[in-house]
Amino acid sequence: MRWLAAIGRELLGMFVDDGRDSVAILGWLAAMWLLSRQNLPSPLVPALLFAGLACILVESAARRARKGRAR
């Protein structure tokens, strides 16, 4: 079972580095999915989808940088 757990950890590690980032991305996608069910003007939701993801990326890198080079 140890090798199975190791494979599971490797697979999870492919997608999750910083848990906070992953939760933010999944939360943003869920919010956009809810918005996509509304009758909003056409380019608004795609633009919001990208803008939110770009903000998550920039905030995540800056937050990690603030923690310093020690980790």
């Binding site: 492919m14 056409s42 939701v45 993801l53 990326l57 890198a61």
Partner: protein, 244 residues
């Protein structure tokens, strides 16, 4: 069958570049194992892993075609975003000097030392060499399999270009290994990861949007805008990270 190059070319490029990075890392370890413990076990373990990986692509790639495309695009797009943004974030932090760059020469030297310390090299098939080469090729190759399936399964006809991209990278790395007999330390690995991270993040965003049935302005051409957008965000993130 006509190929939509707006999707096929980026799929092939993303699979090629990502596979290049992963296979170079695997080759470093396989070369070290072969140099210390013999080539029979090193190449045997690598070949076995490549067969398993090929089986995974052949099993899961076509199987995804049985699932409704909206679901596949939403699921694959979400995984591509998680995967691509993780790569991109790491590449940004490395380019800003926050994380150390990956050093193939150091990895090679470490593995040479590790293999020598294990000792007990016998005749015939060396179990340690087979196991080490199998494990590293599987670990790096599973990411290649994911990328090939993810960028290939979200729309009809993309699996083949993605698989060709990965295969081309494999052949290039094998050719470099045979020619050099040492790790490829000069490859700009972080730049490649930066580019692949942008491509996969853009793909992921596009497929998620398609899965939600959003209407992208300019349809497929919006992929170019997404790439430009993630590139700008990555440069901004790198600049902010350097200032800290």
């Amino acid at each position: 069958m006509t190929l939509d190059w707006t999707h096929a070319a980026p799929s092939m490029l993303a699979a090629f570049l990502a596979s290049l990075v992963e296979f170079v890392e695997a080759m470093t370890i396989v070369l070290a194992v072969g140099a210390v413990r013999g080539w029979r076990g090193a190449l045997g373990g690598t070949g076995l892993a490549l067969l398993v990986l090929l089986g995974l692509v052949m099993a899961f790639g076509p199987a995804l075609a049985e699932i409704p495309q909206d679901w596949v695009q939403l699921g694959v797009g979400t995984l591509l975003l998680l995967f691509g943004m993780r790569w991109l974030r790491k590449a940004i932090l490395r380019s800003a000097g926050i994380l150390p760059l990956h050093d193939e020469s150091a990895a090679y030297a470490n593995e040479i030392g590790a293999q020598r310390r294990r000792g007990g090299i016998g005749r015939g098939w060396d179990a340690v060499a087979v196991a080490t080469s199998f494990k590293i090729t599987m670990l790096e190759g599973i990411e290649v399999v994911f990328i090939v399936i993810a960028v290939g399964a979200a729309a009809p006809g993309l699996l083949l270009p993605a698989a060709i991209g990965a295969l081309a990278a494999l052949l290039l790395v094998i050719a470099l290994g045979l020619a050099l007999h040492r790790p490829v330390a000069t490859i700009p690995e972080n730049t490649l990861k930066f580019v692949v991270g942008i491509l996969l993040s853009a793909f992921g965003t596009f497929w998620v949007g398609e899965g939600m049935r959003l209407h992208w302005p300019g349809a497929d051409l919006s992929l170019l805008a997404l790439n430009a957008g993630f590139l700008a965000a990555a440069f901004l993130a790198a600049k902010l990270s350097r200032r800290v």
